[in-house]
Structure formats: C-alpha cells, structure tokens
Symmetry: C2
Subunit: 246 residues, 2 copies
DNA sequence: ACCTGAACACCGTTCAAGT
DNA sequence: ACCTGAACACCGTTCAAGT
C-alpha cells in the first residue's frame, strides 16, 4: 500500500482526526507484532503519523493506555462456551478453549497478568467451570476447590508452555541429574518429563487426569437431550488402575 | 551505620575496589526492596557510589546483570526436601515448600519467568515430585502426568495469589454476574470463589485434592522406618465422599 | 586492571501555544 | 476540541581517556 505522504503531514490536511479507539487499535497491533517493549509513546505516534502529545490528549498517559488495552483483552476472553455431553467433557473443553485463547495472544495476556488482572481475565471461564462442577454433583467449598484446581492447572501449564517456546533450549539439563539417585530408575518417566513432543496432547491428558480426580465418579452420564457418539468415545474411557483397591 | 563520606568519594581513597558479586548483591537488594523497575544502571551505580560505567566493566550490560540475578535465584530455589511418611504427604510438603519459596521472592521469580527459565527454576522440585510419584506406584508417562499436574497447579496458584496481593480489590465483581443463571444456585460455591480468606489453606486443600486424584489410592502407608505421630494426623484423613460409588 | 565523564540515542511527560 | 514543538528529567550504552 503506497503511503500518499511519507513526511508527517507538512501542509496537507492531516487525515481524519485521531480517535481514542484508533490509538488503542494501533497500540494493540504494535504489541501483537513486535512485543510489549515495542509499545512506546513515540513509536506509537510515528505509527499513527501524529505528534506524541496528541496521544496524550486522547489516552491520558501510558498507564491508562495499557489499562485500556488490558481491558479489551479481558473482554475478548469473555465468551467461553463448554462443549460436550458430560460435565467431564465440558470441563476439559473449557480448559482447552482457555488454553487456545491464551496462547493466541501471549503478549497481551502477560500484560494483563502484570497489571494484576489475571483473575478478572479468567472470570468467564471460572463461571463456566463452576456451572459444570455443580452439574457434576459437587457443592459449596468442594466445588470451588475443583474449579480452582482446573483453573490453576491451565494457567500454570500455559505459562510454562509459552515460556518453553520463548527459550527453545533449556540448557541440556545438566548431565548427571537423575542418575545419582538409584531410587527412581524409571527411564520412561525421565523421558516423559524431558520434553513433551505435543504440548496440546500433554495438556489435555493432564487436565483429564485432574478432572477424573476431582469429580465424583459416575460411570453413567447425566441425563442429557441426546447422546452424541462423537463425544461419548472419549468421555468415559475404561477405568484404569486408579480405582480404589482397599 | 554512619557513612564516613556522603559525597561520592571526592579525593579520599574510594573504598575497596568494586567486585562483580557486590554489583549483583546490590542489584538483588534493589529488586527485593523497590521492585524490578527500580533496577536501573544509574540507580545501581548511585547505590554503590560509583560511576555507571564501572558497573559496565564488571557485568557487561544490563542484560547480563539480569541473567546473573536470575541464575542466583534459580540456585536458591534448588534444595527442596520432602517431609512426611507417605508419598501423598511428601508431595503436598514439596508443593507447600515451593509455594513458600516462590512467595518469598515474588519480584525475582517474575524476572526468572520473564527470561524463560521457569522450567529450570522448578527442576529440583520436579525431581522430588518424580521420586514421590514413583514411590506411590506410578510409572512412566502416568507418573510424568502426575508430576506436571502438581507442578502446574502450584505455579498457577502462586501466580494468581501474588496477583491478588498486588491489586487488592478486583473491582467488586460486577453485580449480576451469577444471578442471571438459574442453573447454579449454590451460594456456598459463590462465596467460596469470591475471596479465599486464607490462601495457604486453600492452597493446601487444592493440592491435597489433586494428589488424591492422581495417586493410586492406598489406605495403608508405605513401610517406613517409624511412624511419626506429628505427620500421621494430617497424612491420612478420613476418606470423604470422593470414593467410588458405582 | 579498574574507573571516569562526556556524549549519543532513546524514553515518558508537561506546558505554553497554536487552530 | 484537538494538535503542535520545545523542554525536562530520566534511561542504556559507547568511547576515549585517565590511573
């Protein structure tokens, strides 16, 4: 796209008057494309082809601008709809949706977190999870526990996953870490902990295990409108060795 | 302690020659006391009563200084010793120790995370958890799953807890959030999710529930040297309603 | 080997002044 | 109501120069 004027508007009519939303849009684009450190008032002004001080007129200062940006991100993460026929499947689906949304905007999520709004960002998901916990038969503090456990696991896992992306090599794991301990000669465990090949798969497995542990076990699905074959296959897998053995 | 010279060493012998460790110590102190944003090269120089450029001679640049700081933090978090007689109790103890250590240096932990070293920071704890998972009878990928689930939950919960501290009022929860949904009329749940009065208690409860779900259930403790009454009381609480009901 | 001040290119923010 | 340049106090970093 050819820019009609490459000098910052000398004597020509300098485009439509700037709006607050335009400023926030440009700021979001800057963060998404070049990371949070690229969002300086001066660079933003250059991007918008205005004087720095114009921006101050519209958004007050950098702090308020970030606040607005964060506010928008929180809103974007607002609608998370559970899918599936059983509470278990629906909780897992919320967790996966949450993960996808978070990974789609890592910079903005980091900024939300830095500004102390993590909890608000997760409130929609929390409500959905609470509903499912209730549907699964959990009540009161017990249900809250389950909601939090899922929520925290998702956040923790996503944070680490994003972290791993950023620094691809975690410095080859200091040789002789595991070997010196004779108690855990479990090569499969060591291998599994080394580097998950498919983060999404690992994520889902972890959440599923967690939900299994949190929900009261009911092998018969709740009464639902109809039973979809697509969800049923992964919904009630054969019980593994985790069952009670007294 | 009276400072013998309050001007930056005019013609007097300007104290023992600066060392790299001194610089890192001062940087750590600055971060711990005034937060990460207070760690500027110039302020650090002022604190050390030297020229800014001396610091550059010792640590290269700001980036390397932060790296050294982070390296030290990772080392400090290195030794985590499990306590208790059953794998369950020992895993919970690791989680609690981890939480305590992380909350003790929130700024530095945030910096470690920003520099992509979260995983390395948690490696000692991970090893301890893996050992306990093995002791509890889990093997291979299944054990890795359990280790990760606990790890992620701790990280997630600590991050949120720290977040909540920073912004004490999460904007009174937008009235009419829960009410419009008739499905979940569980006032106890809503109350429990609103604001945990004792984060430590909530934390322990969550981790305990999680571990219950992850470990194969065994009501008899493993054979240990001797059974301590101090740990036994909280180690095997009466089984709650989570048991199998087929 | 260690320290120094001057200088450069960047910040966020304020202010008086324009239209 | 909206935009502007100049100026202030801060950054990180480099460099030539001291001892």
């Amino acid at each position: 796209m050819p820019t009609p004027q490459r000098h910052p508007a000398r004597s020509a009519p300098q485009r439509a008057p700037l709006t607050r939303d335009e400023v926030i849009d440009a700021a979001a684009a800057l963060v998404r494309q070049h990371g949070p450190q690229a969002l300086t008032m001066r660079r933003l002004a250059a991007e918008l082809r205005t004087a720095v001080t114009s921006i101050y007129w519209h958004v007050g200062n950098r702090e308020s601008l970030l606040e607005a940006l964060v506010e928008r991100t929180v809103r974007e993460l607002g609608d998370i709809r559970p899918r599936g026929t059983t509470p278990r499947a629906r909780i897992v689906s919320v967790a996966r949706a949450l993960r996808r949304e978070l990974l789609a905007r890592p910079h903005l999520v980091a900024m939300v977190h830095e500004r102390g709004l993590t909890e608000r960002m997760f409130h929609a998901a929390q409500q959905a999870l609470a509903r499912e916990a209730h549907a699964a038969g959990l009540r009161g503090a017990r249900a809250a526990e389950a909601v939090r456990a899922v929520q925290f696991s998702v956040i923790g896992q996503v944070l680490i996953e994003r972290n791993r992306e950023r620094s691809p090599q975690q410095r080859p794991a200091e040789p002789g870490w595991w070997e010196h301990d004779p108690a855990d000669t479990d090569p499969a465990l060591v291998r599994a902990l080394a580097a998950p090949p498919d983060p999404e798969k690992v994520f889902t497995a972890t959440i599923r295990a967690l939900v299994d542990g949190l929900l009261p076990i009911s092998d018969s699905p709740l009464p639902t409108p109809r039973q979809s074959a697509r969800t049923a296959d992964r919904t009630a897998p054969p019980r593994t060795s985790r069952g009670r053995r007294a």
